[in-house]
Symmetry: D2
Subunit: 441 residues, 4 copies
Amino acid sequence: MTSTRPPQKSDAPTQRRAPIAPDAESYCSVRGHTEALAARLGPEDQVVQSMPDASPTKWHRAHTTWFFEEFVLAEPVPHEVFDESFRYLFNSYYEAVGERQPRPQRGMITRPDVARVTEFRNHVDLSVLRALREGHLDARRLELVELGLHHEQQHQELLLMDALHLLSLNPTAPAYDDRDHGRPDGQSAPVATVAPPAAARQPGAPAGLFEFEGGLVEIGHLGAGFAYDNELPRHQVWLEPFALEDRLVTCGEWCEFIEDGGYQRPELWLSDGWHTVQSLRWDSPAYWSPLEDPAVSGARWQRYSLGGAAEVVPEEPVAHVSHYEADAFARWKGARLPSEAEWELAAVLHGQPRSAMAPDAAQFHGVLWQWTASAYLPYPGFSPEAGAVGEYNGKFMVNQQVLRGSSFATPAGHARSTYRNFFPAGSRWPFTGVRIAHDRH
Amino acid sequence: MTSTRPPQKSDAPTQRRAPIAPDAESYCSVRGHTEALAARLGPEDQVVQSMPDASPTKWHRAHTTWFFEEFVLAEPVPHEVFDESFRYLFNSYYEAVGERQPRPQRGMITRPDVARVTEFRNHVDLSVLRALREGHLDARRLELVELGLHHEQQHQELLLMDALHLLSLNPTAPAYDDRDHGRPDGQSAPVATVAPPAAARQPGAPAGLFEFEGGLVEIGHLGAGFAYDNELPRHQVWLEPFALEDRLVTCGEWCEFIEDGGYQRPELWLSDGWHTVQSLRWDSPAYWSPLEDPAVSGARWQRYSLGGAAEVVPEEPVAHVSHYEADAFARWKGARLPSEAEWELAAVLHGQPRSAMAPDAAQFHGVLWQWTASAYLPYPGFSPEAGAVGEYNGKFMVNQQVLRGSSFATPAGHARSTYRNFFPAGSRWPFTGVRIAHDRH
Amino acid sequence: MTSTRPPQKSDAPTQRRAPIAPDAESYCSVRGHTEALAARLGPEDQVVQSMPDASPTKWHRAHTTWFFEEFVLAEPVPHEVFDESFRYLFNSYYEAVGERQPRPQRGMITRPDVARVTEFRNHVDLSVLRALREGHLDARRLELVELGLHHEQQHQELLLMDALHLLSLNPTAPAYDDRDHGRPDGQSAPVATVAPPAAARQPGAPAGLFEFEGGLVEIGHLGAGFAYDNELPRHQVWLEPFALEDRLVTCGEWCEFIEDGGYQRPELWLSDGWHTVQSLRWDSPAYWSPLEDPAVSGARWQRYSLGGAAEVVPEEPVAHVSHYEADAFARWKGARLPSEAEWELAAVLHGQPRSAMAPDAAQFHGVLWQWTASAYLPYPGFSPEAGAVGEYNGKFMVNQQVLRGSSFATPAGHARSTYRNFFPAGSRWPFTGVRIAHDRH
Amino acid sequence: MTSTRPPQKSDAPTQRRAPIAPDAESYCSVRGHTEALAARLGPEDQVVQSMPDASPTKWHRAHTTWFFEEFVLAEPVPHEVFDESFRYLFNSYYEAVGERQPRPQRGMITRPDVARVTEFRNHVDLSVLRALREGHLDARRLELVELGLHHEQQHQELLLMDALHLLSLNPTAPAYDDRDHGRPDGQSAPVATVAPPAAARQPGAPAGLFEFEGGLVEIGHLGAGFAYDNELPRHQVWLEPFALEDRLVTCGEWCEFIEDGGYQRPELWLSDGWHTVQSLRWDSPAYWSPLEDPAVSGARWQRYSLGGAAEVVPEEPVAHVSHYEADAFARWKGARLPSEAEWELAAVLHGQPRSAMAPDAAQFHGVLWQWTASAYLPYPGFSPEAGAVGEYNGKFMVNQQVLRGSSFATPAGHARSTYRNFFPAGSRWPFTGVRIAHDRH
């Protein structure tokens, strides 16, 4: 165990070098990664919307492109608009930009087809790259290129979440890359996008603790690197003494929770959570299903992932649980979830956003997003970005819980210790996990 | 006007020659027509389900194939089952066959993809054709081939209905064959599938009447030709004197109904109909929308069809109205809808199921299905076919209204004057129209 | 068994003497019966609406009064309108009369309170009685008094249906007249309104058959007595040979159906029925619940009625089943439900609308309404009554099934063999039962 | 304007004397107030449930009584349980106590009737008073009496909220005390419960500001007086400099917001709020409706309250707005809502929980509850009370927003500056208002 002094300003995360710069190299790299992810999916996979909260792959590919056409390639940057109807079809929620296809109807847009979306991407890419090369973009536009690339990285993870949800509804339980099975394919998506990396697996030993004295600390983004507006301003927060576990909750621990009646004991649950458990008949994490015959390994559950169906492995971190479940589990443990300030403090000292594929040892990054006890609210003095892009974050600041960290599906370079992800408390389709906090009395 | 004696048994429709025989020629013709219809639609169009009542094109193609594999190619006919999972995926509602993909989730099956469904069709076709050629099919199996071909013809019309519904939700209002616009294509679907044929258009002159004395008449299928079980047994019905109009209600007449406040006057409507009008805010037929600027032609409405959007033409028969609307229109006219017996009597004498593309002059066939005043109930002495195919018709005999005739989208050879189509009274996505009946006092 | 010649016109039901005449005696008798039924219910019981299809007792009492004020006491009959707002509050569905309180919101009208509704009834009664006495009512108005009394009798049965539904939701399972338990009360409702009368109970012996040759028969109301417009015109129908059982299906038979898996076998059910069984998880008639410990009597079920909870008695007719269940039961028996024409033919010969309390031996009347295989449609040549009262019946002629007969809760004098009751096929809260029909080949 | 130093511990609210002591005097006073409030409502008003979130008056009266019987009068306190079924009927949400009537079905319990609930109250009162008098209650039980009285006071306000909602659905727009109009009645509820007191009205002058330097402050309950568990522990919070307006937002200001298109401009709204505005078609506060003819006063709106319908008065504080509306209004003003810590800090210095009827000048108390920007979350180190009463607060700590202060309907003695009320962000039926906060840069 380590006990830690309250952090000072100098502990703030240092931005070494912006991993995503508004240049042609970053642009091509990010845009190409989207296409690599989509290449595993056929036109049929790419067009269907599996629920109102999810979007078709094709829509993700077009919407991220729309962002550049709408915000970067506007007058006076030289560019011929690809198709006027796309402004309507592929706007997500930017009220200031105009009317748009209703979210639950995104899956009805079978035309333009996938091939035409590819043309759209190519068309916009040419314009952006030319504008970058020829210096048509002023500082504000360059910022918007940078924002657009971060935006696209977010959608890369959303694309995988949504693909997983869609494929999970298929009674044949296909793996994300089943489609190409047995066929030569030069465009394989990185292995890391299919399931938590091997490094995340660890023995069933009890978790250690990172301990903190609390006091007046600073959180929020600092410095010149990129951050979303919701990470600002950096500000002071008072913390009581606390400790965080040094790894995520495992599937083995979750099985104990299930076996101890965790899903049947109302006293463990928030009222909304208990209502959800009962009305949706949850008895285990999303994508888990009972094995009809207990496996040789003793496993009673299998879980579905982008890699297909497999037995639950006790050492792996548990994934696809809602905030309600995370909170109930923590209460069952006699503990609680961390606040986002506590999490950030610990991650700055003990975690490291992965630059490459490997998660850090303490699993702050690169494994699974981690539910916090914090509601998603503006930081003191928050003001959204000017213009339509100001709708990016601020307008969602109610009825959501903050998640911190990043997941195996988060693109390299996208993670930050100040990053504030958010979802409603009942969400299970993101790549979510659980880290436990303790009061120190 | 013609006044008509009660029909005798000898008036019953004569089956000249079964248009759909259980032979290789019919098989290839019917199966090929499905593929020609689908060829207009890309993989994206073929996989999406636009509402629970509709099915994806891909599903229609696979389900009609499943029918042959399940019922015709069962033991001892030599055949290797293509994929065991298809029994689950592509069963529609045959409880006796086993569990199946829930209807509202048909659009989630993105895999098997379209190409694999084509392989499935080819695989089954080879087996059926070999079985036909080599005489592996006994009389019952041959009947099932015949039934399967009629079943597939029904799905050909459903495929077009469902495609129209899907495309109508696309804000770009694509035409069914837009996709191939400008590309050479040897597989064009017949023009007749796109909109009512030109022959259906007629001047705005008032309709004439076919008059009947009523009395004891016979309806229902007679003779050796093919019929569904719900057309049997042929039986006697007592009719009061009546008259039917000699053509369908036109769009021009419908515009008068609208302008006379037809959609705002509760006294014209059945109670369920009025409730539907108000809750769904109907003010015109499905697929109609008001023109922002009245057209040069004076048209105030446009209608969307498989051919795309176009101004409403007063002389054309009105399409895509519900039973509720048809009934309210008839009441507005001081008239009523025909019973199915009245319709059948008139059609036997004055209509002719089209053998080719042309509708008959009195529009009994080949234009639009015609709502009747009859609820869909079993004929006296009805008994469903034995086995799982007995679920084909009988179990739907409640809460549905009978439609008679056939539409421009009904495949040649599929129409009969004894044919009983049925849909819930609020349905507007079938190719429906209206014929008016009058009492004679 | 009796075999019967086709009935002749002279078999038509003879109206001996209108049991409900538009005179003060009938008026007071009918109006007083409503109050006697309501007297068992406290103000709390009278105001609550238990589901959108049901209405509060208070509403029934006020609405039936509104009918007289609206249609009988209009100008020039001398009458001071009690309260203008009541026109809105207590109109049921008469569009021609004007706007009204939305049906699902009837239970929100806690004011006017029960006492004020009693004042309303008294006020209107005085005017009607004075108008009758002083001869202010012309022939049309007298017809409307008669119609109003029949209307009120219908609502007396609805009042009991709705009270039963409400009380059934009370976890304490109160009996309809629990409220007055132990208190002296001179206003007891007749015993016959609480449960099927003792005469309905019969041994478990197999049912006998009434047999008919079929042929051309007449049905519908004939003569000078009162009938609703939907019983007209009397008309001819062709029937095939058939037989009806001479009593209703019993609870004992229903238990056999349950034990034979009746509620789990889709092949027995109409498709809509099967969907309903599964989504509502029906496993027995409405108001039945399993006994935790089988009773000494061997009973496994108890049923809730206006008399409270009691063990199911095998000899009693089964009640509170939907059309779907009745139809499935008949199919399980290898039989079917009667058409309404078959039922009427048999009832004219073998049943007798009760003049007093006793049901007829064959249970055509005075026990339970009997589901028929007939959809509720207009008779040939039907025309609704003129004016707003024309909305009484005609506008409901879709998506409903006809029930024939009458129940123990139908007021004396209200039953007729030509009476056409109707409810949607899934309804279970009316006092419904089942009579079986057979084809004769 | 006043600028204020950061508060010190000594600024914490001093509990002079518990206004609600666990003695006979307090008990009778609180219990009697409930009855006085209910006396305005007839049995019909008391039994109906107007929406799932609301409860019938009768239920409030019985549930608050159940609380004493369940928690205070348990063994070994001498008491005969009134009715075993009441444990089920009138438990609200205490999972630890056992099964209960489902919340949306509370309005179905017409029996026990109102009179029997009065008997229940009397019966339990006798036992509690005897136990108090004879010293049967240990310290823990006395605490539970105190908790029970605070609990009952909460329900007194809920009773009025729910009665207002119910009566607002009555098309005759009755006032809460209409029922007794013109009848002598010695039990009038205090005038203060009908609408904001006259003192709340003020001229349309711009609001002044209370200004604060921020810094490290303490919030939460301190000392020996009563508080709910959610007000604990008292703890430190860091605040940036801020200012609060010295009165609530008025109806006149709200009319300006409406006229400036406030309800039509998405950029002003949180995303969930905008969705709510559109789907529920909000265009003004709850209980407001447009005047058909602008009034002589110029008013364009009327508002419904417990006093009935009346023109909107510009000087009055706006009531019955949701958090979404409060937040949008603040954004329209270029400002924001206060955090709960900011509010508490200001209220301790400038507000005063009313001991009698009069609100404080700055309207912190006794006028309307005030939405804050804070999500309802546990204070650091929060632990719920032991036992079933621990379900009182903690399990609701997600998806709710904190409101601070108290309203005209809050019983005297119930308000505290540390009090944390909470409702979902879309709630409009509580007595809610808006106070604006400003950043100080």
